[in-house]
């Protein structure tokens, strides 16, 4: 789960990482009130889960409460890469002498947390990695050794931070960020920029924060950060129903069991000349209710002209799936053609159940490729 800037900063603060004083605002009036409380210049920042806010006009400096209200009016409702701005973070403006970059990524390849630190902050880190790789210090931490103070020294000296006070502050932040990363079950924590003010104070001016969905059960406070409004409405419905769903742009609705097979199903529809309307994974279980829920989500998309339902049973049993399809047909009054392919555990029983039901909009095909071809024809 990705967190908004203000949420990540809240966690940073809990772990002792210095951030600026700020308030959340949903309306221009709230923005004004926040600016009054904070005092002086403030920055009005769109809270959306996408990059490039600055370029899109989502981050503005305001001189006073009046100005903050005006800037809030400008920014609220903006569409930034498909994300409509509904929340603002009003934060005390900082003077910036230097911009650094600090992050920890859960490195799946190395199977270790990966620190990245550079004094060349404030830009995309990929740019630094490409144009000035020597300026970027990369350092893995062993999960059993855990964080040790030498890690901070390698990063700080390695990146060439020379001021002793900066060294000390940044070393402390490095340790705090690691604790935050581990204790919040983060997959990514990024501070860009990590600024040094003209007074020599180091603080986090932005936050990028991704938390492991599988660990949310033990972080109820973080789980509450979930931003229901921020997702595509269909994806939000899917999440509510516990269905893994990604909206695509075509006309063939796709439902498979397992991420790999579902992805492959999307590919095969493309190979068969069709355009997938979505990616939808029934997951491991695949009981009747799950099937009904998934079909409800998929058919809410008006672009869908046919559905390819591709099941290879393992832990999922095909007879259960077949019953789910029949139940969905009845409960959702579905008329869109559904092409079904069943294989694996109890496939024969499943096919028999569907054959006996003899629904007019139900097509059972023997292979994945046949089924894809039929679904593409029916969507045309």
């Amino acid at each position: 789960m990705d967190l908004n800037e203000y949420q990540g900063k809240q966690l940073f603060k809990q772990f002792g990482i210095p951030v600026s004083d700020g308030r959340l605002a949903h309306t221009p009036a709230e923005a004004r009130a926040a600016a009054e409380e904070i005092g002086g210049q403030v920055v009005v920042k769109a809270q959306v889960l996408t990059g490039g806010r600055g370029k899109a006009g989502g981050v503005k400096l305001a001189e006073d409460p009046d100005d903050a209200e005006q800037k809030a009016k400008d920014i609220l409702g903006l569409d930034i890469n498909g994300h409509v701005v509904e929340k603002l973070w009003i934060e005390k403006a900082s003077d910036i002498a230097k911009e650094y970059y600090l992050s920890i990524t859960f490195d799946r390849g190395a199977k270790k947390p990966l620190f990245m630190f550079t004094t060349q902050g404030g830009v995309e880190i990929e740019e630094v990695a490409e144009n000035n790789p020597d300026a970027l210090v990369r350092l893995h931490v062993d999960a059993l050794e855990g964080y040790q103070p030498w890690v901070a020294r390698r990063l700080v000296y390695g990146a060439g931070v020379e001021d002793p006070s900066e060294q000390k502050q940044i070393s402390a932040i490095i340790g705090q960020l690691y604790r935050c990363f581990v204790e919040c079950d983060a997959m990514l924590t990024e501070i860009n920029p990590l600024i040094v003010t003209p007074d020599g104070e180091v603080k986090a001016l932005d936050s990028k924060f991704t938390v492991d969905d599988s660990a949310l059960y033990r972080h109820p406070d973080i789980a509450e950060f979930r931003d229901a409004g921020a997702a595509d409405p269909l994806e939000a419905l899917a999440r509510e129903k516990g269905v893994t769903y990604v909206k695509l742009d075509g006309s063939v609705g796709i439902l498979g069991n397992g991420a790999g097979l579902s992805m492959s199903t999307v590919d095969v529809v493309v190979v068969a000349g069709g355009k997938p309307a979505n990616f939808c994974d029934l997951g491991g279980g695949g009981n009747a209710q799950g099937v009904v829920d998934a079909l409800e989500v998929i058919t809410k998309d008006e672009q869908v002209k046919s559905i390819f339902f591709n099941i290879f049973g393992g832990i999922t049993r095909c007879d259960e799936v077949a019953r789910g399809i029949l139940e969905a047909l009845e409960r959702l009054q579905l008329t869109v053609p559904i092409v079904v392919r069943l294989d694996g555990t109890n496939a024969e029983e499943g096919r028999k159940i569907l054959a006996e039901a003899a629904a007019a909009n139900l097509y059972v095909e023997p292979t994945m490729l046949d089924a894809a071809t039929r679904a593409v024809e029916l969507a045309a």
Partner: protein
């Protein structure tokens, strides 16, 4: 021979008395797997259709000779079950459980690696050596014995490929689902290494998917160490960048981790890559024929 599970496998199932553990454990036994024990704390002394249940894995090792553990307990108990198995002397652990927090698996993984234990999963369908043993949830009836090693990050996709091969008369030495979580106990390379060493395996099919760089690393390893022919299928050619497709593995960030990049990396080292499950099966047939 085969790899990871075979006729020498003596299986203990952590969670055998749960409904899923029971269903699949007994199904594995019905296939011919030597299921020697179950473990459920507090249920020691009971049995599940004749399979003795112990309170601890240590008892299952000591009293029933278990050497392989299948973990089928809920996510919040699974890391403990893996540690328990490893410290009880189990040498192969296959963890089916999904949704284990990544940081916890990271510690488990790092610990297990120091012990020389083979860990498969978590969030994986298990391992099947057709005609010998099945440990996990792979529908064994789809596969038949043969000489093709199959390794995959995905469960159902593996069945699909196996099915396509079986329909063309080809069988498998072992099918390994390594799982799609951020941290899995065995990588493609770990399994390729075993297939390369396995006398029964003549050909390997590697089933990858978008996200990460495991397929690219596997390509390098294949180029450096593999003498047996490798074929591959990659899922997700049509996936849009920046979206998570189901499990944590299936996300493309920027230009890295795309199906096309993986295909190119594999083809560059002589691996033939199919763009549909059917095509990869046909490539294997063509090479065999």
């Amino acid at each position: 021979m085969a790899i990871i599970v075979d006729n020498d496998t003596k299986l203990v199932v952590s969670g055998l008395t749960g409904s899923e553990g029971r269903f699949h454990g007994l199904r594995n036994r019905a296939y011919g797997t030597n299921l020697v024990a179950g473990v459920t704390p507090g249920k020691g002394g009971q049995d599940v259709e004749g399979v003795p249940v112990f309170n601890t894995v240590s008892d299952a090792v000591g009293e029933a000779g278990a050497n392989t553990s299948m973990v089928f307990v809920p996510a919040r108990f699974a890391p403990d079950a893996i540690y328990e198995a490893v410290d009880a002397g189990i040498t192969t652990v296959i963890c089916i459980t999904e949704h284990i927090p990544a940081h916890e698996m990271l510690r488990v993984y790092t610990y297990v690696r120091t012990k020389g234990v083979t860990l498969i999963g978590p969030n994986c369908p298990g391992v099947l050596s057709p005609g010998k043993a099945n440990v996990g949830i792979i529908p064994a009836e789809v596969f038949k014995p043969g000489s093709i090693g199959l390794v995959s990050r995905s469960g159902t996709l593996t069945y699909q490929i196996g099915n396509e091969l079986a329909q063309r008369g080809l069988g498998n030495s072992t099918i390994v689902g390594i799982g799609g979580d951020p941290v899995v106990g065995s990588s493609f390379i770990d399994v390729l290494e075993k297939f390369e060493a396995d006398e029964e395996t003549t050909t390997v099919v590697l089933v990858g998917e978008i996200g990460g760089d495991e397929e690219e690393k596997a390509a390098t390893w294949i180029s450096d160490h593999m003498s047996k022919p490798v074929f591959s299928y990659i899922a997700g050619f049509s996936a849009p960048p920046g979206k998570t497709m189901g499990h944590a593995g299936a996300i493309i960030s920027g230009s890295s981790g795309t199906a096309v990049a993986k295909k190119e990396a594999l083809e560059a080292v002589g691996v033939k890559v199919g763009t549909t499950p059917t095509e990869v099966a046909e490539l294997v047939i063509a090479a065999a024929g």
